[in-house]
Amino acid sequence: MSHDKLSSMQIRRRTLLASMAAAGASAGLSTLGVSRAFAQEPEKPAEIIVRAWGGSWVDALKAGVSDSFTKATGIAVRHDLTEDNEIQPKVWAAVAQKRVPPIHVNWDTTTNATKSALRGVTEDLSDLPNLKDTTELAKPVGLDGYPIVNTYGYVYVLAYRPSAFPNGAPKSWKDLLDPKLKGRIALYNDGIGFHFPAQVAGGGKLEDIPGNMQPAWDFIAKIKEQQPLLGEDPDFTTWFQKGEIDAACTISTNAREAKKNGIELAWVVPEEGAKFDTDGLWIPKGLPENELYWAKQYINHALTKEAQQVWLDGLGLPGVVPGLTPPADLVDDPSYPVTEEAFEHLIRISSKVQVENESQWFAKFKEIMQG
């Protein structure tokens, strides 16, 4: 083989590899909904950092969104498992000091994210192409534009161990007051998810929130007599597994995770209703232009039907893109509302009202529970 022929073959191989890379990138970017020409795209960072919750939560995000984003763009995704409420002051401080924030994308509760939006540390996401294909659930209530994009909804169900309810599933939150459940129930340690159904269970009206929440506090005071455990997401799964509790007000995902781990568990939306809320993705201000661009592409990708289907199959939660198929075990499940009728039993209060009153509600809940 002559030298010339060898050179020619090398060039052809390089050309071929480059062509394949370009074709692959174009295919991937098409999936992401990116309409710009390849040459116009900003420089790709080696990785983007996405804050996430651990355990089954991050596994689902990785399987549904991060892996496919990396495959399409070649950009690695690192998941930062710092707690949502602990990353918040770090991001706020970085923006205030005009430093580059420690993460590119924050996977956050909408309530928490709303605080950041009100503080003005979130980038506007209104220009994401895939937003046009989403339901109204994607739009944060009470805020201008899209400082956050909601990506799914979830329900704070009454999860219970069927063997502890031999007469059938609990029908009301008041069933938690049964003396045999003393020391065997659990709530979130900030009361989140329980305030609104407690308002109804205590004889009050949802329209009175936040003006008059005395019925909620009265009912929570009764629940306090039951000596509930107070914890966070991982605690509920652990407590059910370790036999510490028989019932809890928790996000259905935690109950489903415990059930997947072989724990006998079921859940209901009681007659008073259950709180429905959303989580979302947002980008902190202060990123370099090219990194901001690719962070936006990550969120845009999370809004594709394919990414939502895999991600939310893992979480067992309803997404913001029409036409998703519920996981087989959650068809017609009250924790996976898809019809208007299913939403009638759920309680949704605007994030703005929640963040404005959170500090007071938190203090009141703590006062009752720590007393």
Binding site: N85, K115, N189, D190, L230, G243, F362, Q370
Partner: protein, 314 residues
């Protein structure tokens, strides 16, 4: 005649040069300042902490605007008013203070015989065993130890399983105030023993022998000789345990089941849950104040114990 090179090696010349350099930079007249120079890094570090406290003091005088989630521009005492008037903060402060006092008393009670045996035993094997048992927990972090108790004391834990063997139904051993105090005592015990041991070592064996030779029994010798002479160790250990217990976060968070918060947990909640840095800063300063007053009272009543190294022991 030239001095042979071997008679004055190069290393000596280097040392001479360094000495001359040191004399130029730090003349002998500056010698009295050397201790202060050595103190400087520590003073700088403490100074930085004081700066932090000043910043916290500033934040404590501002309230959170929930429309913008920014702190107010104006100064106000509203946060202090909340802390002093709301029942929740009184409950948490009372629980922390009472808890730290109970933990200190129990820890000293357990630590004293341990330390005494460790320094007095003639058996070197026993002394080594006690030392290893003392230092082993230091290699296991506080959080890991607390989780260890969850495994041991849980409803399906080792203790309940053992009780089940004799027909006792599972009982709730965790997530209550006694569980938190238990965890704190277990965590604080090594600190107390380490503070007590030097004080007990400083008591000459001969004093106890002399008391015995004069007819004093073990209890009388302990009461009139050992206990008074070990007071500096007890005071030093007590101060360390009471301040660490008062400010502890992890044990109440893990073993308290969310219902047994100490002040540090309440501070965390304000900074990280409600984003109310002003209220969190106020609670932090109040905690510093309460801890300082407590330590000050002990100093006034009993002296600084083993922490007052240079002073004549009282």
């Amino acid at each position: 005649m030239r001095t042979p090179r071997a008679a004055y090696p190069v290393t000596w010349r280097v040392m001479d040069m360094l000495e001359r350099l040191a004399a130029a930079v730090w003349p002998s007249s500056f010698q009295r300042g050397l201790p202060y120079l050595m103190l400087l890094p520590a003073v700088v570090l403490v100074g930085l902490l004081v700066l932090g406290l000043v910043q916290i003091g500033d934040t404590s005088l501002r309230v959170l605007d929930t429309n913008t989630f920014l702190m107010s521009e104006d100064y106000t005492l509203a946060n202090y008013q909340r802390v002093l008037t709301e029942n929740f903060f009184a409950t948490v402060a009372g629980r922390s203070l009472m808890g730290s006092l109970i933990v200190t008393a129990i820890t000293l009670l357990f630590a004293f015989p341990y330390a005494y045996l460790m320094v007095r035993t003639p058996s070197s094997a026993l002394r080594k065993f006690l030392l290893v048992a003392l230092f082993l927990p230091f290699f296991i972090g506080q959080v890991v130890r607390a989780y260890g108790w969850l495994i041991i004391l849980g409803n399906q834990g080792m203790v309940n399983e053992a009780l089940g063997l004799v027909g006792v139904p599972p009982m709730r051993l965790l997530y209550n105030y006694p569980a938190v105090l238990f965890g704190l005592v277990q965590y604080m015990l090594p600190f107390a023993v380490l503070m007590l041991a030097p004080a007990l070592t400083a008591i000459p064996n001969e004093l106890e022998a002399a008391a015995a030779s004069l007819g004093a029994g073990w209890v009388r010798t302990f009461r009139h000789v050992v206990l008074p002479l070990s007071r500096p160790g007890l005071v030093g250990a007590g101060l360390v345990v009471v301040t660490l217990s008062l400010t502890d976060f992890a044990i109440p968070a893990i073993l308290g089941g969310g219902t047994q918060d100490f002040i540090a947990n309440a501070i965390y909640d304000q900074f990280f849950r409600t984003s109310d840095q002003g209220l969190g800063a106020t609670l932090s300063l109040m905690l510093v104040a309460v801890g300082s007053i407590l330590v000050g009272v002990v100093f006034m009543l009993f002296g600084a114990g083993t922490l007052a190294m240079g002073e004549t022991r009282k």
